[in-house]
Every structure is written in structure tokens, then in C-alpha cells.
């Protein structure tokens, strides 16, 4: 697709953002693998995973190292926002607007009934915005609960036990939420949906084809021009 010779491309992600995404993807994958293995330790597949990680102690360190990795990705994100004007522009684009709900509704209506106009998505689709804010909220929730579970003795010395009980449930259930939304759903979107098959190359090259971009983000022409002018 975008690799077709002569086809124009659109820059979607900076090198910084691609490293940020790569570090996050690696950390989250490791976190989910090592985390679900513990949550489902009664299952044979989970025990196989734990053995593969070098037993409970190995699993323990993989999970914590990956947690630090995710924290690092968060830090990269923050630094990018501070130092790059382009990152700040992206952040302004990803802010939710009331129009997003309208767009999403129009998209669903068009898909199922064929009535009305196909949705006119901008630089980010409503789904992409939802995923961004979901990731952010997920990281905050997992970060807080994970930090409290990191040293249970310190937590129990400081807080009542029900705090730890809630954090334990929160950490395990939010993990499964993340697994469905950010792994299954996101992978579907970037590898299958909207003509992305076999994948949208932006996470590696930073670019996607202009033709595909115009199809997925038809209303972004204006913002694109303003981006180029800026």
C-alpha cells in the first residue's frame, strides 16, 4: 500500500512517538502475559507461562521490570508534550469534542442502515481518541494499584486492608479490560479495519499512504493544511 512506489505518504508519527509506542507495546505485552499468568495460575496454560518465565520469581521480576518500562513510556510521552510543538498539536487533536459522539453515531447508522452520509473523521477518529484516553486512564489506574501492590507490607502498614483488597481486584479486572480494548480491539483496528490489512505501517515508518489516509480521515484535509503551514 504505502510502500507502492510513487504513492504519496502522510507523516503520522514522529520518531519519538514511535519509540514511545514501541516501549509501551513491549511493556504492556510483558505486563499482560506475566499478569494474566498469575491471575489464572489455576489454569494449565498459565502455569506453563509462569514456568517459561522462570517460575514465580522470574514472573515477578519480568512484571516489575515491564512496569518500570511502561513508566518510562509515560515519561517519554510527557517529555514529548513539553518539548515538541507537533506533539502538542497532536494532543489538541486528540481532545474529545461533542462532535465525536455525533460522528460515531453517524458512522454506526451508515454502516448498519446505509442511510445518511459516511462519517467525516478528522486527524483522529473517535475510536482512536477513545483508545488514547483509555490508555491514559488505564495506565493511571494500573500504576496506582500496582504501586500499592508492589510492597504489600508497606501498604498494609500504611492503609487499612480493604484498600489492598480493592487494589487487588482493580488491578486484575482492569488488566482484562485493557486486554480486550487495547490489545484485541486496537490490533483489529490497525491490522484489519479500514483497509489497513496486513497492517498500518505508521508505527514503524511513521507514514501512511495519502490515499488510505484520505479514506480513513476524510475531514482532516483542513487540519492537515494547517499542520503543514505551521
Amino acid at each position: 500500500m504505502s510502500s507502492q512506489p510513487g504513492s504519496a505518504t502522510i507523516s503520522r508519527l514522529t520518531l519519538w512517538q514511535r519509540w514511545e509506542h514501541g516501549l509501551m507495546a513491549l511493556s504492556v505485552s510483558l505486563l499482560i502475559l506475566s499478569g494474566l499468568a498469575l491471575a489464572y495460575h489455576e489454569q494449565a496454560w498459565a502455569r506453563l507461562l509462569i514456568r517459561g518465565m522462570g517460575g514465580l520469581q522470574g514472573r515477578h521480576w519480568i512484571h516489575r521490570t515491564a512496569a518500570v518500562g511502561l513508566l518510562g513510556a509515560g515519561l517519554l510521552h510527557l517529555l514529548g508534550l513539553i518539548f515538541s510543538r507537533r506533539h502538542r498539536r497532536d494532543f489538541r487533536e486528540v481532545r474529545p469534542r461533542l462532535g465525536d459522539f455525533e460522528d460515531a453515531w453517524r458512522g454506526l447508522k451508515f454502516a448498519f442502515t446505509g442511510k445518511g452520509e459516511p462519517p467525516q473523521y478528522g486527524w483522529f477518529t473517535p475510536m482512536q481518541k477513545l483508545q488514547y484516553w483509555g490508555v491514559l486512564l488505564g495506565c493511571v489506574l494500573m500504576g496506582i494499584s500496582g504501586a500499592l501492590l508492589w510492597n504489600p507490607v508497606l501498604t498494609l502498614n500504611t492503609f487499612p486492608k480493604w484498600v489492598l483488597d480493592i487494589m487487588l481486584v482493580l488491578h486484575a479486572t482492569e488488566a482484562q479490560f485493557i486486554f480486550v480494548l487495547f490489545i484485541l480491539w486496537h490490533l483489529y483496528d490497525v491490522h484489519v479495519a479500514g483497509g489497513n490489512f496486513p497492517m498500518n505501517p505508521a508505527w514503524l515508518t511513521g507514514n501512511m499512504s495519502e490515499e488510505l489516509f484520505a479514506r480513513q480521515h476524510p475531514a482532516s484535509g483542513k487540519t492537515l493544511r494547517s499542520r503543514e503551514e505551521a
Binding site: M1, H41, L56, L108, A111, K161, T173, V180, L184
Partner: protein
């Protein structure tokens, strides 16, 4: 303290001397092979002398066809109907157990009675136990007695259960000492036959300590052993105890670590003790809130007094840890909606792709972009 009647039921009648005449389950011990051989020679000789008096060994009545009474009717070696009264073996003939007696008078030394010839499962179990390999450890008669052998099905009979503990005390005095004041022994003394005695946790014939793998009190299996009673609604209702202690333990990190082979992880006994289990309301209990910091400190350094009063065995349910339960329910609903949304999203996306192709077919001139 308990006042245990030493022998309210004649589980063991007779002196230590009688008990020391061992009955070995299964095969006779090697050391006794010589005496068996000697016995055969003696019996051979007797057979020729007393052949007219002998018929086949009979198992019909205590005396059988051999007349045991002239020698054993009284005195030091008496085995009378009085001795056998109430014995489960009262109807068996002497030679049913003393199978090596084929004539009288018999050899001075008889070979050991082979209880395993009838009670093979029990004998096999005993052979697997540490008792089988330790010299001086009890054999069948050590616990069951000899002629006056009584049915030993404790069921929920508290007095039999207490006697079992008394039997073990002979060798395991230290363990009995701590058991004696435990909730289990106290409950038995109150007549609550549901409470545990030694064999309830360690097993009966295959009695084992925590160090033997596969033992009911080994770290990997002890929680299931405790669960036999502490997960049983009927039994726990008798003492007003909760039934979720083992299930809540099994969902804990301690249980996960145990299951993955970390035998240092806490089991029931690590916190509650083993023989000396006390109610958490008892100030001397390891699980009394005031003592929890000390108990947890065995593994977790730095536990402060603030730890006290925490509920360890929490059940994430509307009646247990309600806030955590609410969080879980919230997520279950949320994740279900999310999965539905995902399905809807895929459907919409596929339908949308089809419609897009129908409305703007010329957009993909090469047809290559229209990948399904």
C-alpha cells in the same frame, strides 16, 4: 487442662509386655525367619507324636479343634471368653491369627501375627508410613491391642478420638502437649466429636508427618486436609465457624506460590499453628490481632502493629469485601459491554467497507486496496 480417662474403652487391654509381642502387618519380619523355621521343625516332630489328636486347624470357635484352654484358661497367659468380650475377633478361632500353631503344645516363640492376611489395605497403608521403618514404632497391636481388639471407627465419638490422641502421646509427648490445649482437643473434651484428633489430619494407617511428600499435612496438601472439615457447612455450623477459610486461602497469593512449588509459602499451619491451633479470639493465638505482626514477621520483615485487626480471609462478595466486590461487578459489566461493543465495531466496520466500495467503486483503481 483436659482430664482424659486413660482407657474408658478397652482399646488396648493388657500390659506393655503383651503389646510388645508384635503383630506385623503384611509379611513377617526378616529377623523372625529363623524362629519360623525352628517352629516348623518342632511342629514336624510334634505332628508325628500327636498325629491322632490332630485334625485341620479350625477357625470355628476360640478353642477350635485344638484345645487351648488347658494352658490359656487362666494365669499369666490367659485368653478367656472374658478377655475376648466385645472384641471384633471374638468369634475367630485362635489359629485364625496364630496360623503357625498346628498342634499343641506349640513352640515357645510364635511368629508374628499377620494382620495383613485379612486387613490388606490397612497393612499396605501402614507399610507406607514412617512407623513401618522406625524400630519400636507401633505396629497394628501398638494401637489396636491384641486379643481384645475393638472396632476403631471413631466416627464422631469424642471419647474414642481423645483416646487416639492418648495413644499417640506415648511416643509423641511434645506434640500431645501442645494439642492438649488446642481448640480441637478442647472441643473433643466438650463432647464435640466433629473436632480433629491426630488421625484426622495425619491419616490413620498411612500416618505421616509434614515432611513426607504426599502426606495430608505436607505444605502442598494441608489446606485441602483442613478443608475437609473447614469447608464443610454442616460441621462448621456446629461451632458457628465460617466455611470460606480454605476457599479464600486458595485464591490468595500464598496458595498460588504453593501451587507453583514454593513450599516456603504460607499454608494454614504457618499462621494458625499445627497441634496448638487456638481461636483467634484467644490472646495466646498466633492469629489474635495483637499477635499478627509477629506471625506475619516470620516471613515478611517490617510488619508494624498497624497490621493488627486486618481481615485476612476476605471473600470478595456482597457480604465480605463489599467495596472490592463492587469494583469487580463494575468491571464485569463494563467488560461485557466492551466485548459487545467490539463485536458491533467489527460488524459496522465490515459493513461500512462494503458500502464504501458500493458507493465509490472508482476509488481503488487497481482494486488492490480493497482488501477484506
Amino acid at each position: 487442662m483436659l482430664k482424659l480417662n486413660r482407657n474408658p474403652l478397652p482399646l488396648i487391654q493388657g500390659s506393655h509386655g503383651e503389646r510388645s509381642r508384635e503383630a506385623v502387618p503384611g509379611k513377617a519380619r526378616n529377623g523372625q525367619a529363623l524362629s519360623v523355621a525352628l517352629s516348623i521343625i518342632v511342629f514336624g516332630a510334634v505332628f508325628f507324636v500327636a498325629a491322632p489328636r490332630l485334625s485341620a486347624a479350625d477357625a470355628g470357635s476360640p478353642s477350635g479343634s485344638l484345645d487351648c484352654a488347658p494352658c490359656h484358661g487362666g494365669g499369666q497367659s490367659a485368653v478367656t471368653p472374658e478377655t475376648l468380650k466385645g472384641s471384633v475377633h471374638a468369634s475367630l478361632g485362635c489359629t485364625r491369627c496364630h496360623a503357625d500353631i498346628t498342634s499343641v503344645p506349640h513352640a515357645e516363640r510364635l511368629s508374628a501375627v499377620d494382620c495383613g492376611s485379612c486387613h490388606s489395605a490397612e497393612a499396605t497403608g501402614w507399610h507406607k508410613s514412617p512407623h513401618a521403618v522406625r524400630p519400636g514404632a507401633p505396629t497394628c497391636v501398638g494401637c489396636h491391642g491384641t486379643h481384645s481388639i475393638h472396632p476403631l471407627r471413631p466416627g464422631n465419638n469424642s471419647s474414642i478420638k481423645l483416646q487416639i490422641a492418648q495413644l499417640c502421646k506415648d511416643c509423641h509427648g511434645k506434640e500431645f502437649g501442645s494439642y492438649e490445649t488446642s481448640v480441637h482437643a478442647k472441643a473433643l473434651a466438650r463432647g464435640l466429636g466433629e473436632a480433629a484428633t491426630c488421625t484426622d489430619c495425619h491419616g490413620e494407617h498411612t500416618i505421616q508427618g509434614p515432611e513426607s511428600a504426599g502426606s495430608p499435612v505436607a505444605p502442598a496438601s494441608v489446606s485441602s486436609t483442613c478443608g475437609n472439615c473447614h469447608g464443610d457447612k454442616k460441621r462448621m455450623a456446629m461451632s458457628g465457624l465460617p466455611t470460606d477459610r480454605v476457599s479464600t486461602f486458595k485464591s490468595s497469593f500464598h496458595a498460588a506460590a504453593l501451587k507453583m512449588g514454593n513450599l516456603k509459602a504460607a499454608t494454614c499451619a504457618s499462621c494458625h499453628g499445627a497441634h496448638d491451633i487456638l481461636a483467634s479470639t484467644d490472646p495466646a493465638s498466633r492469629t489474635n490481632p495483637a499477635n499478627l505482626p509477629t506471625t506475619c514477621s516470620h516471613c515478611h520483615a517490617g510488619v508494624k502493629q498497624g497490621f493488627a485487626g486486618v481481615k485476612i480471609h476476605v471473600d470478595v462478595s456482597p457480604t465480605g469485601a463489599r467495596a472490592a466486590w463492587f469494583v469487580r461487578v463494575f468491571y464485569i459489566v463494563f467488560i461485557s459491554i466492551l466485548v459487545l461493543g467490539f463485536v458491533l465495531h467489527i460488524l459496522a466496520e465490515r459493513l461500512g467497507a462494503i458500502r464504501n466500495r458500493a458507493t465509490v467503486p472508482h476509488e481503488a483503481p487497481s482494486g488492490k486496496e480493497d482488501v477484506q
